[in-house]
């Protein structure tokens, strides 16, 4: 890996934006829960909270994958891993969207 300092800076930057996004998601989630506190809120189970944060897990997973594939540097292997990884993530996202779109359309 040439220019280790630059890579560290880059990894920190991309991690920061992911962590920022994760924190914002958590903030919005908690804020929405506290807004509805007086309403008919169901008791939160670990599974329910975990499901609500599926989006955050996708984000963190993507971050790890991107840092890993970029860290491999120049070469066919790095590009191939990047291509395959993206295709897998896209397939997972499409499945997630199809499943969640149903509930979303009921809500709107």
């Amino acid at each position: 890996m040439p220019n280790t300092d630059l890579f560290t800076w880059w990894a920190l930057s991309i991690s920061f934006s992911t962590i920022f996004l994760t924190l914002i998601s958590m903030y919005l989630f908690i804020e929405s829960k506290s807004r509805r506190k007086e309403g008919t809120q169901k008791k939160a189970s670990v599974f329910r909270i975990g499901k609500s944060f599926a989006f955050v897990f996708v984000l963190v997973g993507l971050l790890v994958f991107y840092i890993f594939s970029i860290q491999l540097g120049t070469g066919v292997l790095s590009e191939s891993i990047f291509v395959v990884g993206n295709i897998i993530v896209e397939a997972l996202l499409v499945l997630y969207l199809l499943r969640n779109r149903e509930t979303e359309s009921e809500n709107t």
Binding site: S13, I14, S17, I24, F29, I70, S78, Y96, L97, R101
Partner: protein, 777 residues
């Protein structure tokens, strides 16, 4: 911009002045004044309190006056109070605590018209001190800011603070942490600042509004003040008068009520005979007499009067409050009287109950009950009576005795046929309708009941007068009908609703409505309204119809929807891009993008958005009114901005480490030319990725549905956006691209770019599902 601001400012001032002039013209009238025993005609401007003024049929009242003498006086105060029926006046002293203007029947108000009789009055107030003058005064102030304008202002403030913080931070970090030159740091921070500003917003908003105005004109809604269109779509409370919107705005005979159970044509026939209307091609005369003939035409009963010959007439006068005619049929003479029930009752000895003639004292209770039950429903009632008379050369008031009461005529301003549907439609669209009328509460209640409009609460003007501001704010929430309200009270109701965070529309057409039209977020008037009301309004309906209004609201919501798309998209993706530019400028050994490249990308992005106003808007978006919610815009920016940054950083990584841009900077022997090429490659790679993500994400963000599959974008938007993407893609391979400092990108880059952008768009779509689950808008 300064010139545009000056021109717009001048235009608004000019318009305000024109409104006031129209009002002045409307009230510039002559008056017959008696001073020191001599009568003369003078300009009403020269009247002073204490003058004795005479008014006659057809006159406009020149000042607010206390009546001292009158004969059969009736005035039309419809434009002033909203009351459709002429108002009967008196010279007597009234004993009412805190009277409303409608209750002051011994007063004449400037601007009202004398429709019957004559009067003399002492001038109490003139000019600006009159009720009408107070309305004129309220129109000289500046139009209050609409909800949309307030929203744009707070959005501008948010953007300004964000831009200043980011630009100053970039400058300080680049100059003092990354030790880049001051000039470069300043140029770059300024470019980032420009990149953050949605420069095209005024153009997008103006195009949206003008196109929307043109579409609204097709549905009979003329927009006078473009900026009110968004509020028109977003209004959640519509205050409207009763006359002409819920009712036809004219007097009609609702029904005839004979005393017995059986209905025959005798009552209607006698009403047509005892009638002062002139029958020709058109029926003209007293509105109630005209209404009787129109009713007869509807039930095809005009012919019933043919066997009768009119012999004589005892004219109407205000002491008797009734008229009589004498008719002949088959040699028999009959006197028919019609008038105010109390007057007719006093002259009746008998009652015709289903053809049986009974002593009126025997059926008095039933008659009184019927009369009172109809009065309580707010109807105007006339009674009809008759008696057979002997043949004479002339008849007089003395003959109006020992009459036989035949029945009642019930008059009303009839409800509009489609008013119930329109009311329901507005309710379904999330618009609560409140009725503000100068008319009495019984009439308003009956109309609502006829139309099956649910009434939560009825409040009258004198009740409002006793309430403090907090009580008014509370009562406006739960009240459907405000009756006997003054123009000032209408204004208070609008202000209270606005203070309760509603977007308020007001529909009115009278002079008395002008202040409320001015104060409402959306002032709506009609083509047939008085000039002052039309001038004060933001929107003019070519038909006074709530259904026309509903169609216009739909258009307003579409325009708001497309404007919000631009704001949400621009803020979030610009914020993300500029944030990554700022971070990269600190840790990269070269400029991540030149200032000229940032500005060019910004320009290209703005061009791609030019057709956004033509985009389709999802049905569910226009279903309910939306509000400009800065909290939502802030959350949206904070949530979707980092997506863009994440993929910018990913591109940095790909360019630096997969395509080897970082390598020359790690090698001690690398020449400047090699470094420059690496830098150009990086900038081209980021430019294309940044542009693709910034522009294509619009297809995801523009809808809450599945992009393309369940929500198709407008064709012009799709065409222009994809053309811009194509242009941005080939740019690094062109002379222009080379001139701007871009290097051609390798083939593998495109494969990675397509996959990366696809993941980005899917991730944003997944983020959208998460975001809208927790942030309702």
């Amino acid at each position: 911009m300064i010139v545009i601001a000056v021109v717009l400012g001048f235009y608004n001032e000019f318009k305000a002045e024109k409104t006031v002039q129209n009002l002045r013209q409307a009230v510039s009238i002559k008056a017959v004044v008696t001073r020191e025993g001599k009568s003369s005609q003078i300009d009403s401007k020269l009247l002073v309190p204490g003058d004795l003024v005479s008014v006659y049929v057809g006159d406009l009242v020149p000042a607010d006056m206390r009546i001292v003498k009158l004969k059969d006086l009736e005035t039309n105060e419809a434009t002033f109070t909203g009351e459709s029926f002429p108002v009967e006046k008196t010279a007597e002293k009234l004993d009412i605590q805190n009277p409303t203007p409608q209750q002051l029947t011994n007063y004449l108000f400037m601007g009202s018209a004398v429709v019957h009789g004559t009067a003399q009055g002492i001038v109490v107030s003139t000019g600006k001190r009159t009720k009408l003058g107070a309305i004129s005064g309220s129109l000289t102030r500046t139009h209050p800011e609409t909800e949309f304008q307030k929203g744009v202002k707070s959005y501008g403030n948010m953007l300004l603070s964000l831009t200043i913080v980011l630009a100053v931070s970039i400058f300080l970090l680049d100059a003092f942490v990354a030790h880049k030159s001051l000039v470069w740091s300043l140029t770059f921070s300024l470019a980032v600042a420009v990149g953050l500003v949605p420069e095209l917003m005024p153009a997008i908003v103006t195009i949206s509004l003008s196109q929307g105005a043109s579409r609204m004109a097709n549905v009979k809604v003329v927009v006078k003040r473009l900026v009110s269109i968004e509020d028109f779509g977003n209004m959640n409370v519509l205050c409207t008068d009763k006359t002409g919107t819920l009712t036809e705005g004219k007097i009609a005979l609702k029904d005839v009520y004979p005393l017995g159970e059986e209905k025959d044509h005798k009552l209607l026939t006698y009403s047509m005979l005892c009638n002062a209307a002139v029958i020709g091609d058109n029926i003209v005369g007293n509105p109630m007499d005209v209404a009787i003939w129109e009713y007869a035409k509807q039930v095809n009963a005009q012919g019933d009067v043919e066997p009768y010959n009119k012999v004589d007439e005892v004219s109407f006068d205000y002491q008797r409050r009734m008229m009589s005619v004498i008719v002949r049929k088959n040699g028999e003479y009959t006197l028919i009287s019609k008038g105010a029930p109390e007057s007719v009752f006093n002259r009746c000895k008998y009652a015709d109950v289903s053809g049986r003639i009974e002593l009126i004292t025997d059926v008095q209770k039933a008659i009184n009950d019927k009369f009172h039950s109809l009065s309580e429903l707010g109807y105007r009632i006339l009674a009809v009576a008759f008696r057979n008379v002997e043949r004479k050369t002339s008849y007089s008031v003395e003959d109006e005795k020992d009459l036989t009461l035949l029945g009642f005529l019930i008059f009303t301003d009839p409800p509009k046929k489609d008013a119930h549907d329109a009311f329901d439609k507005l309710n379904d669209m999330g618009v609560a309708v409140k009725i503000l009328t100068g008319d009495n509460e019984l009439v308003a209640q009956t109309i609502c009941e006829d139309l099956k409009i649910p009434i939560k609460k009825v409040v009258i003007g004198s009740d409002l007068m006793r309430m403090n501001w907090n009580e008014i704010k509370a009562v406006v929430e739960e009240t459907t009908i405000f009756a006997r309200v003054t123009p000032e009270q209408k204004l208070d109701i609008i202000k209270a609703l606005k203070a309760n965070k509603h977007v308020v529309g007001f529909l009115g057409d009278g002079v008395n409505d002008a202040p409320a039209l001015y104060e409402a977020d959306v002032g709506i008037s009609v083509d047939t309204a008085v000039d002052v009301a039309k001038e004060a309004a933001d929107i003019v309906l070519l038909e006074k119809d709530l259904l026309v209004l509903a169609n216009g609201i739909n258009e307003g919501r579409k325009i708001f929807g497309n404007t919000m798309k631009y704001i949400l998209m621009g803020t979030s993706s610009n914020f993300g891009n500029m944030f990554s530019a700022a971070a990269a400028s600190v840790f990269l050994p070269f400029e991540p993008m030149l200032a000229s490249q940032i500005l060019f990308m910004n320009l290209l992005y703005d061009i791609s958005n030019m057709t956004l106003p033509t985009d389709n808007v999802d049905e569910e978006y226009v279903k309910m009114p939306k509000r400009w919610d800065m909290g939502f815009v802030r959350k949206y920016t904070l949530f979707f901005g980092p997506f863009s940054s994440l993929y910018d950083f990913l591109t940095f990584g790909i360019m630096l480490f997969i395509f080897g841009v970082a390598a020359p900077y790690a090698l001690p022997g690398a020449t400047d030319a090699v470094k420059l090429h690496a830098q150009s490659l990086f900038q081209a790679g980021w430019f294309v990725e940044s542009f693709w993500t910034e522009v294509l994400v619009m297809f995801v963000i523009r809808t809450r549905r599945i992009p393309f599959f369940t929500s198709r974008p407008g064709k012009w938007l799709a065409l222009l956006t994809l053309s811009c993407v194509a242009f941005g893609t080939i740019l690094p391979f062109t002379v222009l691209g080379s001139f701007m400092g871009f290097a051609p990108l390798p083939p593998e880059y495109w494969l990675l770019l397509v996959l990366m952008v696809a993941t980005y768009l899917l991730l944003v779509d997944a983020g959208k599902v998460f975001f809208y689950k927790i942030c309702k808008y």
